[in-house]
Amino acid sequence: MSADNQLNSNVPEGDLKDKWSQHKFNMKLVNPANKRKFKIIVVGTGLAGASASATLSELGYNVHTFCFHDTPRRAHSIAAQGGINAAKNYQNDGDSIYRLFYDTIKGGDFRAREANVHRLAEISVNIIDQCVAQGVPFAREYGGLLDNRSFGGAQVSRTFYAKGQTGQQLLLGAYSALMKQVNAGAVTLYTEHEMMDLVLVDGKARGIITRNLRTGAIDRHSADAVLLCSGGYGNVFYLSTNAMGSNVTAAWKSHKRGAFMANPCYTQIHPTCIPVHGDYQSKLTLMSESLRNDGRVWVPKAVGDDRHPNDIPEDERDYYLERKYPSFGNLVPRDLASRNAKYVCDEGRGVGPTKLAVYLDFRDSINRLGKDAIEARYGNLFDMYQSITDSNPYEEPMMIYPAVHYTMGGLWVDYNLMSNIEGLFVLGEANFSDHGANRLGASALMQGLADGYFVISYTLGNYLANVSLDSVSTDNDAFAKCEQDVNERINKLLSVRGTTTVDEFHRELGLLMWDKCGMSRSEEGLKEALKRIPEIRDRFWKDVIVTGDADEFNQVLEKALRVADFLEFAETMCKDALERKESCGGHFREDSQTPEGEALRDDENYTNVFAWEFKGVGNEPELHIEKLIFENVKPSVRSYK
């Protein structure tokens, strides 16, 4: 690897615990009177985008915010259930900023950047203060103070929550702050606008091209900086717990204009989802991980045991997690729980009509604690399960199976959340920076809000105070060229008039990705996927059916544009998975495991970030490397035996 290909993360000097405060002091400030002169584009209105829009406009920047939804409150952050971590130590149980930092680094399997993670842990405490002040109705104790719970196997209770709807309440908090700023005239809001391209002028991000989803109009928007807060790419798998509209387009278009895509192979597969039930299925539903606190996971010992679960005697059941991991049992981390479910199903011991499911059984907990206690803890989840599956989990075991849930990879950013393109900042799930190869439960909400409320407000100012920007009008050739590219792509899609639907292509891609780049990956499988993806993509452009016209509300066209990007992105994802020949976090390589079948990391060769540079559709991307340096936490082997 040449020295040119080493990326600089711009992490400030100094002690880990002082880096952020020192950096805040060292950064230049923008004069309050000048802030209004800077126009900032924010793409996306989830936790990161809504909080950034509100905060930057409060500081005085001229903020223009875009989302493809009909209102900012629909962004998929709304669906997060469990909670948000913060190192408040309100429970006096030994939590601290350093412990949250340590847990996140370890949970990320030593593939995250120390300085970013420490900053996240520091800021976590301010987030809770901010949200409470906004009126987020967190759960409280009888004394009126905030309640906490332990989540995702953490040994301290640091998770703040609002029943099973924490994401909803936090997003509505950020949305309310955004609405306040729209009312004040400080944010210009563009709903039903999808970002179609990033515009660079003199190598800097200076605007975007959007499609008005209501009218089909293609518009140019210039700015002094662009913030991408566009979420993750889990829908490359077709079936995932993401919303139907979640997509990679904004990130992928930026990648095609030069932004590096980092660690795209890191995807989180959540173990407790409702299994697939038919080929018409459109999405998967997550059941909160908290269920594993009282549910026992099992499959029949015998292959092909078709009896009703209640008729299978105790000694013919295999509680495989308890058997293999006696000290953690059913509470092993997400990646282990998911992979082991796959193994027992691969052995032919899966249950249910598709044989791609395992039982999550509450019988013993109900016998021990009583039905009322279980209902108090999980009532709403049991109701949801019964509503979807028509099966009563109080009387028979739930059936669960892993599903794609979150993507740790994303656009590469430095410590300031700026990509390698000057003026392009990436926040929340859309960037790669804080979760390494595996994200801990209740940490996604924390990161989205940390980036939006408390990081970007400083680092954006520092960028603007140091850079010299010519004023750019949307008449600039760069805007014309990008707009032309967008129009050509749309016209090309509409002119195919083939025989296969967008969903059929998406499903085909998703099945391939799930099979070859899902819970378990092999060199052979990835090579096959890399051969087949271009074939599917070629067929897509020759045979897709897109009905309707460009200049109208056209949901088929919207989807086709997103799937066209997934068909390009998928190749980079598989390439990344192929190149990372170690197992770590959510990335399990079959050729890198211990004799007991556990993930085997290769710290000597892979303590780094892979950041890919686009070199044309179908061409090999160029690899750039950021070395990860662990000065404070020594990488160790995760053991849950």
Binding site: S51, E58, D70, T71, P72, R73, H76, I78, A79, K88, N126, I128, D129, Q130, C131, V132, A133, Q134, G135, P137, F138, A139, R140, Y142, G144, L145, L146, A162, K163, Q165, Q168, Q169, L172, Y175, S176, A177, M179, K180, A243, M244, G245, H277, G278, Y280, S282, K283, T285, M384, S387, I388, T389, Y453, T501, E504, I545, T547, G548, F553, Q555, V556
Partner: protein, 251 residues
């Protein structure tokens, strides 16, 4: 697994200024475990295959929380089951041979975008008028500095569950948005942080609601029945009281 065939009578309308009409489609051989929207997906796949325009309907999370989906099914907003959104309604709620009439959420303040998709931006504008606590980022005291009685916090949460789907507007004979508005006002008023701006909030939000062309409340309680989150009409009564007090107190 059970499969059924149902007849769909669907409102088709190209845009708000166009004339709409009902059209009939057959949803054949549908797995009863499929969700209502998945049934529509199957019908739409068939239409697209034939080169016809699919039925436009709004949807996103498909787990009942984002508030994007919604249509009137056989006269009921979000369909026959209580306390679920359309995406959480399953075809097992229907029988083989049923006729299902599908219409958009109709209200003057919710113009039709296309077919079953309506424009709900008026609800955003009501929120912009006052559905927030005016706190700047960074100016918050410690989260535990102000204790909130658990009962108040729980009540605030119950009111805060509104997903902004507008089923209540569609169900109301006056097309009123009072349930959405009052739930937000109640959520914030139950909390000490939200009390400071209470009077201004209710006055501004009600004013905006009227300006948007929503009707007034005449205690029909249809909104509560239609609400997928079970938001109570008691918040409307609370709002009326606050509104009265605020009106008397205002200059």
């Amino acid at each position: 697994m059970k499969r059924i065939t149902v007849k769909l009578v669907v409102w088709r309308q190209k845009g708000n200024d166009d004339k709409g009409m009902f059209k009939t489609y057959l949803a054949e051989n549908i797995d009863t475990d499929a969700s209502f929207l998945e049934m529509l997906d199957v019908v739409n796949e068939g239409l697209v295959k034939k080169g016809s325009e699919p039925i436009a309907f709004a949807h996103d999370c498909r787990e009942g929380i984002c508030g994007t989906c919604g249509a009137v099914v056989n006269g009921e907003a979000h369909g026959p089951r209580e306390k679920v959104t359309l995406c959480q309604l399953h075809m097992r709620s229907f029988n083989d041979g049923d006729t299902i009439i599908l219409e958009p959420f109709r209200a003057r303040a919710l113009p039709i975008v296309k077919d079953l998709v309506v424009d709900r931006s008026a609800l955003d504008r009501i929120m912009q008028a006052g559905g927030y606590i005016s706190v700047r980022t960074g100016s918050a005291p410690d989260a535990n500095a102000i204790p909130v009685p658990k009962k108040d916090a729980d009540q605030a949460f119950d009111a805060a569950q509104c997903i902004g789907c507008a089923a209540c507007v569609a169900a109301c004979p006056n097309a009123s948005a009072m349930l959405v508005l009052s739930a937000k006002a109640a959520h914030l008023s139950y909390l000490p942080q939200g009390k400071t701006e209470e009077s201004q909030r209710v006055l501004s939000m009600v004013k905006q609601m009227t300006k948007e062309g929503f009707g007034g409340c005449s205690n029909e309680y249809q909104c509560e029945v239609a609400c997928p989150k079970g938001i109570s009409v008691k918040y409307i009564a609370q709002l009326n009281k606050k509104y009265l007090v605020a009106s008397i107190g205002s200059e």
